[in-house]
């Protein structure tokens, strides 16, 4: 059973607000990831981290930013939310390159 948690599960917020989506894992995994998924579509990687103080942009350009100050915590921030940011955001972690990745329950974000 994977121990990776995302909060909030659902968020409706107004345009221009700053938001932070939380992702925490208790498995001690070094590698963590953020994926974005529009309804009915595939997942796209937007950020990843291979350890503390390591962050990289993914394959899909995103206006969000991430930080990795602690191994277990990988928050994603939008400085000024827009309706185009409406999507589901999924966090994942794994211990190594040749191991299974586990996903959190996701955050459904709606910007009105």
């Amino acid at each position: 059973e994977a121990d990776i948690y995302q909060t909030p599960r659902y968020l409706v917020i107004g345009t221009g607000k700053k938001i932070t989506l939380e992702c925490s894992q208790t498995m001690g995994h070094d590698k963590m990831y953020w994926y974005q998924q529009d309804p009915g579509m595939e997942l796209h990687l937007i950020h990843y981290s291979y350890g503390v103080n390591s962050t990289e942009k993914g394959d899909l350009s995103s206006e969000s930013t991430v930080s990795r100050i602690r191994t277990e915590h990988f928050p994603l921030t939008l400085e000024s939310a827009r309706p185009s940011h409406t999507s589901q955001y999924l966090c994942a972690s794994r211990t190594g390159t040749y191991t299974e990745a586990f996903f959190g329950q996701g955050t459904r974000l709606t910007v009105v």
Partner: protein
């Protein structure tokens, strides 16, 4: 980057039927996972299978890495099997990052 194609895009079954979902990929992989996304959006791990064959209850999977495809078999399908099935792969250049296919939408009718 590596390309992932899943087929069929949509599949409708009667309860009790068997099905095969396919995942083709464009390059050699060192990572391959099958996921089931439930109606609440959560991704459930089914198999980590970069090569070989695995079985878990009514589900089994086979990856033929040399021919660049993987198959997911669902036997005696149940309504709770409904949802989207994703294949995700990683190769040498992507490291541990996973690239997802577009998924197969499975509907199992009672």
């Amino acid at each position: 980057g590596i390309q992932v194609e899943q087929s069929p895009p949509d599949l409708i079954l009667q309860e009790g039927a068997n099905s095969t979902l396919r995942c083709n990929f464009s390059d050699s992989v060192n990572n391959l996972q099958w996921f089931h996304q439930n109606p609440w959006g959560q991704l459930i791990n089914l198999f980590y299978i970069p090569s070989g064959t695995k079985q878990n209850g009514r589900l089994s999977a086979t990856t033929v890495a040399t021919e660049r495809y993987s198959l997911l078999y669902i036997s005696s399908s149940q309504t709770t099997d409904s949802g989207v099935y994703f294949c995700a792969v990683g190769d040498e250049t992507s490291g541990s990052r996973l690239t997802f296919g577009e998924g197969t939408q499975l509907t199992v009718n009672p």
